[in-house]
Amino acid sequence: MKRWIRSALWLLATSLLFPVSLAADATSSATQRVTEAAKGFLATLDETQRRAVVYSFDDANQRARWSNLPVGMVPRGGISLEQMNAAQRAAAMKLLSTVLSRHGFEKIQQILQGDEVLRLNRRSGGGPRFGKELYYLSLLGAPSDKTPWMLQFGGHHLALNITLAGERGVLTPTLTGAQPAIYTFEGKTVRPLKGESDKAFALLSALDATQKKQAILDYRVANLVLGPGEDGKTIEPEGLKASAMSPPQRALLLDLIAEWAGIVHESAAAPRLAEIEANLENTWFAWSGPTSVEPGDNITAYYRIQGPTLVIEYAPQPGDPAMHVHTMYRDPTNDYGRKLISR
């Protein structure tokens, strides 16, 4: 069975573990469902809110207005969950749950909840605000199942940039992060980036000594190289090339990549994973930092996955690196759906 099919099935199986109340209508395409959800959200807004949410599709400034930083430090476009009433918020959540896979929607909810934990644990005083209400939704262009448009949702440690064009959906560039990256919610331990940490460590552990020598960089990587503001750049790849991995190791690599590629809904994730798998032999895995982790904890090492259409970075932040992580997901050939739009 093709690995991308296995990954898609994994996404589907995982999604079944996270029930949401918004069952998809099997008779319409994913893009139609997303478009209808977006129109439904817009219909709940008053005119002032609508003007704040909708930008021109070719608004380059708004397209690039995303960051890992809190919204008080880098203002986002659109309107925040805090500025929405209950019906508007429900419509926004319906839109997100439609455009994302259930696994992706779960991950995003956990990132928001983590920021709420950060807010609750913070001592009073000045400085930026945190919390699950401070996430902004904006649209570039008019929702359509024919012509391109874009959805942005983001705030502290989150920037989803999703371009939709016909039946295709592009999730890059997208930033995820977490602080705290491990917390307790309703009696359960939550790790929003659990897969990104555990699967990377599983891949590293599956490498033999010679492969590790190639994969593990002998220098410190202090932060993301291609984070916010670094659009359109491709750096030279380093580390271990997947062509030097065994089939089981490549399967681990693809499964790790699916943590990002699978955030978007399954109909968009499946072709994206197929594309990544087709280029897998030319994909590199590089690791910098500690090579051990306690069970249930997050890795404290930086890693990068880079292929012809892919850049993923996982960057623990100094201080308490297991508890504060930034990640970046890019397609240097198709960030913001560049390829789709030029067709």
Binding site: L69, M73, V74, D218, Y219, R220, V221, A222, N223, V225, K233, T234, I235, E236, E238, Q317, P318, G319
Partner: protein, 190 residues
């Protein structure tokens, strides 16, 4: 690896930041290198953590009025340039400042923005196999370094290997130029 680079790497090892250092405690200097036939461009992004902001400002805001003037920006870019050592095939290069961009002081203070300096240097003609070495000694006591090479847009240039000191203060790039450089290429992307 040359003996000279090995010495630089050894020196750089001595200035590695403590393992537990926080980003807030560091001045992150990220350099992207762009190769062209006959030219190398450096794009340096300098982001002070909030806890080292004052130390950085002492160097940048030389009249201590809390505002970084255009003249202070220029002088600071020259200071950074002076703290870099760039060579090709063992020959020292003399890069120049193309531009410097300094955001408002408050944005720097909050860690929201970065100083950006663009540098460029002419590359003398050389053989097919070339070695570029960059050393960054700027504010080494408080800095964390990142150095990467962009994939060359000109297909005649091909990166062979990158070597770094453990803190990336020293960087060596080995590349090949496949054909003689007759004139600057109009560029073919890959």
């Amino acid at each position: 690896m040359t003996r000279a680079l090995a010495l630089v790497l050894t020196m750089a090892l001595c200035s590695v930041q403590p393992a537990g250092a926080h980003t807030l405690d560091e001045y992150v200097q990220a350099t992207l290198i762009s190769l062209e036939p006959g030219r190398v461009n450096l794009s340096v992004r300098l982001t002070p953590g909030t806890e080292v902001f004052d130390a950085v400002m002492k160097v940048v805001d030389t009249d201590a009025d809390g505002v970084i003037s255009v003249e202070e920006s220029r002088r600071y870019a020259d200071r950074v340039l002076g703290d870099l050592r760039l060579s090709i095939d063992g020959r020292r290069l003399t890069p120049s400042v193309v531009s410097v961009s300094v955001p408002p002081t408050e944005r720097l203070r909050e860690g929201m923005d970065a100083i950006r300096i663009e540098l460029t240097a002419h590359l003398p003609e050389g053989g097919e196999r070339r070695r570029l070495v960059l050393e960054n000694h700027h504010l080494s006591g408080i800095s964390a370094y990142l150095v990467n090479c962009l994939v060359p847009r000109d297909s005649r240039l091909e990166v062979q290997a990158q070597h770094r000191s453990s803190n990336q203060a020293a960087y060596q790039l080995d590349y090949v130029q496949n054909r003689p450089l007759l004139e600057p290429s109009t560029g073919s992307s890959r």
